[in-house]
Structure formats: C-alpha cells, structure tokens
C-alpha cells in the first residue's frame, strides 16, 4: 500500500464493528476488495470501502437470519408436537408437558429425535415441517430483516454501478468479488463472525 493510499484511507471514517466481530477478518474482506479493484483516488476508495462494509453487513444479517430461524426451532417443534401428541381424551396440560420434554430432548437424545421423526412420519410429514413452522413463527422478523438485506444489497449494487460510470467495467468486477465473499469462496461464511471463533 502506497504512502498516498494510506494517507487517503486515514481521512475516511473507521468502519465500526460489533464486539463479537473480528477486526482482522474485516480487514481481510477490505483488503480483498482493495487488491482486486485497486481503487485510485479518494472517491474510488470511499466507494470501495463502502462496498466492503455493505458486504460485511450483508454477511452479518444473513448469519442473524439463520440464527433467528434456529432460535425459533425449539418453539416450533414444541407446537407441532402438541398437535401430533394430542389424543381426544387427554388433558391439554399433559400434552403440553410431554411436548415440552420431547422438544427439549430432540437436541441431545438421539432416541427422542427418532421418536419425533416417527411421530411425524405417522402423519406423512418429515423434519422440514419443523423448519417451515419456525420460519412461519418468525415471519414478521424475517420480513423486516429481508427488507434490510434488500436495502443493503441495493446500495451495494448502486455503489458498484456508480463506479461503472467512474471506471468502465469496474462494477461487474466489484459485484462478482462481493458475491464471491458472500458465497464464502474467499472467506468461509462460518469464520466471518466472532473474535471467539478466530481465537
């Protein structure tokens, strides 16, 4: 990195990261864009830094989206089990207790998991119905999250289109780099988060 490049970068505001995110990994993402796109001048640097940060935020929200669905999984399983276990003569309270115990055991006890899968198959269902219920249960949150993701992606694409005007053929390269990063081809997705993961 040239002295002029460093001086220009110092003029741009720092990119804020979460306490759980690794600065080294963010620098890796930013350096990958810098090396591939070789921005010239402060305006190009501003936009390349923007694209790197937007890419980082897209990755952050995508991880959270998966996390939200995973967090809703247990509640979804419990709800489904309440329907599957219910028998006409059985009091609702007992069914709820049984469903709660079985849903909890799903995560640690293979026999309980097997029992749940059997119950599902009795109704011609499989594991995917649990995920579907988890997604349905978090519908409002996921919709809001998707809107934020769409907004970030739109801005990233706009920034790269802007660079097209500034430098021919640059945007396609920017988008492809960003997509490669998001798909985990440059940086594995599971490694992007957390100092703890890096440690």
């Amino acid at each position: 990195m040239s002295k002029q490049h460093r001086t220009q970068l110092a003029l741009l505001p720092a990119s804020p990261l979460l306490i759980t995110e690794s600065l080294d990994q963010f620098d890796q993402v930013r350096d990958a864009f810098d090396q591939e796109l070789r921005p010239r001048g402060i305006i190009e640097q501003m936009y390349v830094a923007d694209i790197a940060y937007l890419t980082w935020e897209i990755l952050r929200l995508r991880r959270c989206k998966a996390g939200i669905i995973n967090s809703a999984f247990r509640a979804a399983l419990e709800k489904l089990l309440q329907e599957l276990l219910r028998k006409p003569s059985q009091p609702t309270a007992f069914v709820e207790v049984d469903a709660g115990i079985l849903a909890q055991a799903w995560f640690s006890d293979p026999a309980a998991k097997e029992r749940v899968l059997e119950l599902l198959s009795e109704f011609q269902l499989d594991e995917s119905v649990i995920e579907a219920e988890a997604v349905r249960g978090s519908g409002d949150d996921l919709e809001q999250l998707d809107r934020l993701l769409a907004s970030l992606e739109l801005r990233r694409n706009k920034a790269s289109r802007y660079i097209t005007d500034y430098r021919g053929g640059f945007a396609r390269q920017v988008r492809e780099s960003s997509d490669r990063l998001i798909e985990g081809k440059v940086l594995p997705l599971e490694n992007v988060s957390g100092k703890s993961a890096a440690a």
């Binding site: 934020l148 706009k158 005007d165």
Partner: protein
C-alpha cells in the same frame, strides 16, 4: 403524573393517529432525526467540521472553484453521516446484546410493585422481577441473532437515514464530476 385512565386514552388516540397534521406538528416530526443526532449541524462540532473540510479538499482534488468545493463538502458530510449512522447501528445491537432491551434496567415499574417487594421482604420471601437479559440466549451466535431481532425496528428506521445520506453523497460526487 398521568393517571392510568389518561395513559389508556393516550394509547387509544395514538393508535388512531396517522401522523402530524398541523404545521407545528409537522415541524416537530421533521426534526425526528435529531433523536439520533443525525441531522445536527456540522458547525456544532468543531472537530467534525475540520474533518469534513479535510476530506472535502481531498475529494475536490485540484479544483478550487467555490461550487465544486461546496459539492465536495456535501459529499464529505454525507460520508461522515454514513459512518455515524453505522456506529449508532452497531451501538444499538451491542446494547441489546448486553441488556436484552433498550430501556434502562429497572427494578419495578410501579409503586405497587415496590410495596409488594417490601411486604415480601417483611415476610422473608423476595420476588425479583425477570430482567430482559434473562430472556436472551447465552451462547454468542444465538444471542447476537436475538439482539439483532429485537433491534430490528430501530435498525429499519436508521436504514432510512442511511439511504438518504448515501443518496446525498452520490449526488454531490456526480455533481463534482459533472
């Protein structure tokens, strides 16, 4: 202090509200961005003004015309606004990550609950409120996802400010290039 009936009436009225109608009300609504300090004047902070000026000079390059410099200042200010919004977003998520809610942790919400605590203490049994933090997952990836989920309404509002700042920056830079 408002009575419970007044609070209930306020809530009913608020549900019917479709936004400000009077010019005074619209004026107040237009200053909502001040809530986050996003629209505060650049002159309010000398150091920030200096940063804007340094960045603007760099953006303008060799151009010395007053018009170009003004566009460069607008672009620089928008760039710093974007950074500020991103810092706020990160701070909100982190706050939620730690506390599980935006309201400051509070022992009890009503005097009656305080009295109940005193009575419980008197009887030798204490009923402690369930803090929001207790409803947060303990492990990191799930806790972060939950923090983001709880912060979504605030993040959506900030996204609007962010989009606006990005548009201002782009327009200003395009004007410089001509």
């Amino acid at each position: 202090m408002a009575s419970e009936r007044q609070i209930a009436a306020n809530r009913r009225n608020a549900r019917r509200s479709t936004g400000a109608r009077s010019s005074d009300g619209k004026g107040r609504a237009s200053r909502n961005a001040y809530r986050y300090g996003l629209s505060s004047s650049a002159t309010a902070n000398v150091e920030r003004t200096k940063r804007i000026e340094r960045l603007a000079r760099k953006i303008a390059g060799k151009a010395t015309g007053a018009v170009i410099l003004e566009y460069a200042r607008a672009a620089a200010q928008a760039e710093l606004d974007l950074a500020q919004i991103r810092r706020i977003k990160v701070a909100l998520i982190e706050r939620m990550f730690v506390f599980g809610e935006f309201q400051a942790p509070q022992a009890f919400k009503a005097t009656s609950e305080d009295k109940r605590l005193l009575k419980a203490l008197d009887r030798g049994g204490v009923i402690l409120p369930n803090p929001a933090d207790a409803t947060m997952p303990a492990a990191e990836p799930e806790r972060l996802a939950e923090a983001v989920r709880r912060a979504l309404p605030e993040l959506s509002k900030l996204d609007r400010y962010e989009r606006r700042a990005a548009v201002v920056r782009e327009r200003s830079v395009r004007s410089i290039i001509g």
